[in-house]
C-alpha cells in the first residue's frame, strides 16, 4: 500500500506536468459537449421541393400552396420543365420534384382521378421515405378537402380521439436524449484513449524496464495507472454534468449518488479496457488504432445514435457485450427518468463485472518477466 502511494504521486505529477494534455483532457470534452448536441438533430424538417406546374389551374395552385403551407416542405423553385427541376436535385438544392401534368384540373373533374409525379432523391433513405410519406399525407388531405368542398353533406365519421403525452420530455426534444449520450461518449474516449496510450508510452520510452526490474507488484502498478485517470474521468464527468445543466438545462431527476456510483464503476471498466489495449500493443500509434477500432464499434452499437432494439438479433447480442451500451442506458434512465437502484441494478452488476474482468485481464496480461 505504501508503494502505491509513491506510484500515484509519480503518475499525478506526470499528468499535471504536461499542460497541453491537461488542457485537452478537460477542455476538449467540455467544448464538444457544448457544441455537438446542438448539431445532432435527427428531425427531418423542411424537405426542399422543386415544383413543375404544367397546368397552372386553380386546383394545381391550391395543391402547391397546400404543400408549401404544410410545414413539412419548403418550395425552393418553380420550374417550367422536369429536366430543369432535376438540376436542383443534382445540385442538392432540392430533395423532391413535384410534377403536375397538363390538364390536371380538367381531367380530375371529368374522371375523378389524376396522377401527379413525385420524384424523390432516394440516396438518403430516411429523408426520402419521410418526404414521400409527408407528401402522400398532404395530398390525401387535399383529396378529402376538395371532396368535402364539392359535396353537400360532410360525412360524420366515427373518430378515435388520440391524445398522447411524452413523459420525462414533453416536447420530445433531442437535447434530453443527446446530451447524456455525448457525455458518456466523451468520458469513454478520454478514459479509453489516455490509458491506452499510457503504458505503451512507458514501453516506448524504455522506462517500463526500470519498473519491471523493481519488486513492484503488478496490481500496484496497474492500480497506480488506474486511479489518476479515474480521478480525471470523474472530474470530466462532473464538468459534463455542469455543462448539461448550465447550457442545456438538464438537471438529473434521479439521485447523484447513484449516478456517481455508476460513473465510478463504468470508468473502471473503460480504463481497464484502455490498460488492456496498452499491455497488448508495442507503440502509441498501434495502441491508439486498436483502441479507436473498438471504441468506434462500441459507440455505433451502444444505442447512442440509433435504438438498440431496432438492430438485428446478432447485433443486439454484441451491443449487450459492451459496457458502453449499459452505461448510456443507465445515464439516460437516471438523469431523465429518475430511475432508482432497484430499477437499474442489473446494469450495475454488468458494469462491475466488466470492470473486474477487464482490469483482471490487464493485470494478468501485464508481464514483468517475458
Amino acid at each position: 500500500m505504501k508503494v502505491l502511494r509513491f506510484i500515484l504521486r509519480k503518475e499525478f505529477r506526470q499528468i499535471f506536468r504536461d499542460k497541453t494534455i491537461l488542457a485537452m483532457m478537460f477542455a476538449m470534452p467540455t467544448i464538444q459537449l457544448i457544441i455537438l448536441p446542438l448539431a445532432m438533430n435527427f428531425d427531418v424538417k423542411h424537405v426542399k421541393v422543386a415544383v413543375v406546374d404544367n397546368d397552372h389551374s386553380s386546383y394545381s395552385r391550391q395543391l402547391i400552396a397546400k404543400v408549401g403551407a404544410s410545414g413539412y416542405f419548403r418550395i425552393v423553385a418553380a420550374m417550367p420543365s422536369v429536366r430543369e427541376a432535376m438540376q436542383y436535385i443534382e445540385r442538392e438544392q432540392a430533395d423532391v420534384v413535384l410534377e403536375i401534368p397538363p390538364a390536371f384540373e380538367q381531367q380530375l373533374i371529368r374522371e375523378g382521378k389524376q396522377r401527379i409525379g413525385v420524384s424523390v432523391d432516394a440516396i438518403n433513405g430516411t429523408k426520402a421515405a419521410l418526404g414521400g410519406s409527408y407528401l402522400v399525407t398532404v395530398i390525401g388531405d387535399f383529396n378529402r378537402q376538395i371532396t368535402v368542398n364539392s359535396t353537400a353533406d360532410p360525412a360524420a365519421a366515427n373518430t378515435i380521439a388520440i391524445t398522447f403525452s411524452n413523459w420525462y420530455n414533453p416536447l420530445a426534444e433531442y437535447r434530453f436524449y443527446i446530451v447524456p449520450a455525448i457525455l458518456v461518449l466523451l468520458l469513454t474516449l478520454i478514459g479509453g484513449f489516455l490509458t491506452a496510450l499510457n503504458i505503451v508510452r512507458e514501453k516506448e520510452a524504455g522506462t517500463i524496464e526500470q519498473i519491471n526490474v523493481t519488486p513492484i507488484r503488478k496490481w500496484e502498478f496497474i492500480l497506480g495507472k488506474l486511479i489518476p485517470f479515474w480521478v480525471v474521468g470523474i472530474t470530466v464527468f462532473t464538468l459534463g454534468l455542469a455543462v448539461a445543466w448550465g447550457v442545456y438545462g438538464i438537471w438529473p431527476v434521479g439521485s447523484f449518488a447513484l449516478l456517481y456510483t455508476f460513473a465510478a464503476a463504468y470508468l473502471l471498466a473503460v480504463l481497464g479496457f484502455g490498460l488492456l489495449v496498452s499491455t497488448y500493443t508495442d507503440n502509441q500509434l498501434q495502441a491508439m488504432f486498436v483502441a479507436f477500432f473498438f471504441m468506434m464499434i462500441f459507440m455505433l452499437m451502444s444505442g447512442l445514435f440509433t435504438a438498440v432494439e431496432s438492430m438485428p438479433a446478432w447485433a443486439r447480442a454484441i451491443a449487450h457485450c459492451t459496457p458502453v451500451t449499459h452505461f448510456v442506458k443507465v445515464v439516460r434512465m437516471i438523469v431523465l427518468k429518475g430511475s432508482t437502484f432497484a430499477d437499474v441494478q442489473y446494469e450495475f452488476y454488468i458494469l462491475v463485472f466488466f470492470a473486474l474482468a477487464l482490469n483482471g485481464w490487464a493485470i494478468l496480461n501485464y508481464r514483468k518477466t517475458s
Binding site: 446542438l38 448539431a39 445532432m40 438533430n41 430516411t126 395530398i139 398522447f164 434512465m333
Partner: protein, 368 residues
C-alpha cells in the same frame, strides 16, 4: 530523385513492419461497412408497448389485434395498473403504453368520438415520435375501415419515383460518409504521428542535417500513407459493390482522382498537426479524439446539415470531409460528371494548399 526513393522506401518499411496497425487500418472500414450496412438502422422496430385495455369489447379487441399483428411492436398486456407503467418506463422494460378506457366501443359507434391515450417514454424522442405516428396510422386505418365512408369523389394519386435508388438500398447514404470518415481519421492520425515520432526518438535531427529539402522530407513521409489510403478507399468501394450491392453510377476515374485529392488534403492536415505538436500523445489525441466527432457530425451523413443552427452550418464548411461527401455522392451515386463538382473540388484544393503551406512553413522554421 534516387534519394527520394530511398527515403520513401524507409517510410514504407515503418508502415509495413507494424502489422497490427495495418490490420486495424483495413479492419476499420470493413467493420464500419458491416455495422452500417447490417446493424444500424434509423428505422424503429421491436418497440415494447404496454396495452391496458379497460374496455375489453369487440372494438377494442379488434384494434389491439391490429396493433399486435404489426411488426413494429412487441406488446405486453400483463400490466393492468396505470401506476405500473411508470415503473416499467423507469426500468426500461417498456417504451410506450396505450390505454383504451372503458366504454371504447360504445363511444366509437354511438358517441362519435372515442378517446384513447398514448404514453411514451420521451427520453428517446425519436422512438417516442415514431410510436405516436405508427399508432395513429393504425388507428386511422381501423377507423376508416369501420366508418365505411363512400370513396372520395376526387382522387389524386401521387406516383412516387425513387431517384438514384429504385431498390431502396438503405446503405447508399452512409457509404460516402464512411469513406470520408475512415480516410480522414486514418490519414490524419498516421501522418501526424510519423513526424512527431521521429522528433520523440531523436531521429528527426538526422533527417534535418541530411541534404534533403524540407518539401522532399514531407513528400517522402506522405507517399506511403497516400498509397495505403488509396488501397483503403478501393477496399471500401469493393465492399460497397460486392457486399452491399451498390452500383457505381459515375466514372471510377473521377472518383479515384477526387479521392486522391481528399487523401492529400487529410495528409496535409496530419502534417500540420505533427509540425505543431511535440509528443505522439498530443498528436494522436488531437487527430483522433479531436477530429472524430466533428468529422462524424459536420459531414452531414448522420445528421442533416440543414437542421443545424446557422453558425454550425458555417463551421461545417471548414470540415474537408463535408466537401468530399458531396463529391462522392454526386459522382458515385448520382453518376454526375466533373461539371457538377468543380466547386467542391476547388474548395478541397484550396484547403489542401493552405494546410500544406502551413505545414511546410512550420517545418522550415524548425529547420532554422
Amino acid at each position: 530523385m534516387k534519394q527520394l526513393l530511398v527515403f520513401i522506401r524507409k517510410e514504407f518499411y515503418h508502415v509495413f513492419r507494424d502489422r497490427r496497425t495495418l490490420l486495424i487500418m483495413f479492419g476499420l472500414p470493413v467493420a464500419q461497412i458491416v455495422l452500417f450496412g447490417f446493424a444500424l438502422t434509423s428505422e424503429v422496430k421491436n418497440i415494447s408497448l404496454i396495452i391496458i385495455d379497460q374496455a375489453r369489447d369487440v372494438n377494442s379487441q379488434e384494434l389491439t389485434g391490429k396493433i399486435k399483428s404489426s411488426a413494429y411492436f412487441i406488446t405486453d398486456e400483463s400490466v393492468t395498473d396505470y401506476n405500473d407503467i411508470e415503473k416499467a418506463f423507469k426500468q426500461g422494460t417498456a417504451r410506450c403504453a396505450l390505454i383504451i378506457p372503458a366504454g371504447f366501443g360504445n363511444d366509437l359507434l354511438h358517441g362519435g368520438s372515442a378517446p384513447v391515450q398514448i404514453l411514451t417514454d420521451g427520453s428517446d424522442p425519436n422512438t417516442a415520435k415514431t410510436v405516436v405516428n405508427y399508432l395513429t396510422s393504425i388507428m386511422t386505418g381501423y377507423q376508416q375501415e369501420l366508418s365505411k365512408t363512400p370513396p372520395l369523389r376526387y382522387l389524386i394519386q401521387p406516383e412516387l419515383r425513387m431517384l438514384y435508388n429504385e431498390e431502396g438500398n438503405g446503405s447508399l447514404n452512409f457509404i460516402p460518409g464512411v469513406m470520408a470518415l475512415v480516410l480522414m481519421i486514418v490519414c490524419t492520425a498516421l501522418t501526424s504521428v510519423s513526424v512527431v515520432r521521429e522528433k520523440e526518438l531523436g531521429t528527426m535531427e538526422i533527417l534535418l542535417v541530411s541534404p534533403f529539402r524540407p518539401l522532399l522530407v514531407l513528400v517522402a513521409k506522405a507517399i506511403p500513407y497516400l498509397v495505403l489510403s488509396l488501397a483503403n478507399f478501393l477496399l471500401i468501394l469493393f465492399l460497397s459493390v460486392f457486399v452491399l450491392d451498390v452500383t457505381v453510377k459515375g466514372s471510377i476515374l473521377l472518383l479515384v482522382a477526387e479521392s486522391m485529392l481528399f487523401i492529400t488534403t487529410c495528409l496535409s492536415f496530419g502534417l500540420m498537426i505533427s509540425n505543431t505538436t511535440n509528443s505522439q500523445q498530443t498528436a494522436l489525441l488531437l487527430s483522433m479524439m479531436g477530429m472524430m466527432l466533428p468529422t462524424m457530425i459536420f459531414t452531414g451523413f448522420m445528421f442533416p446539415l440543414e437542421n443545424m443552427p446557422v453558425p454550425f452550418q458555417v463551421i461545417s464548411n471548414i470540415v474537408p470531409a463535408r466537401w468530399y461527401f458531396l463529391i462522392i455522392k454526386a459522382v458515385m451515386l448520382k453518376g454526375l460528371g466533373f461539371g457538377y463538382v468543380w466547386k467542391e473540388t476547388l474548395v478541397l484544393t484550396g484547403m489542401m494548399l493552405a494546410t500544406l503551406g502551413i505545414a511546410l512553413k512550420n517545418f522550415k522554421t524548425r529547420l532554422s
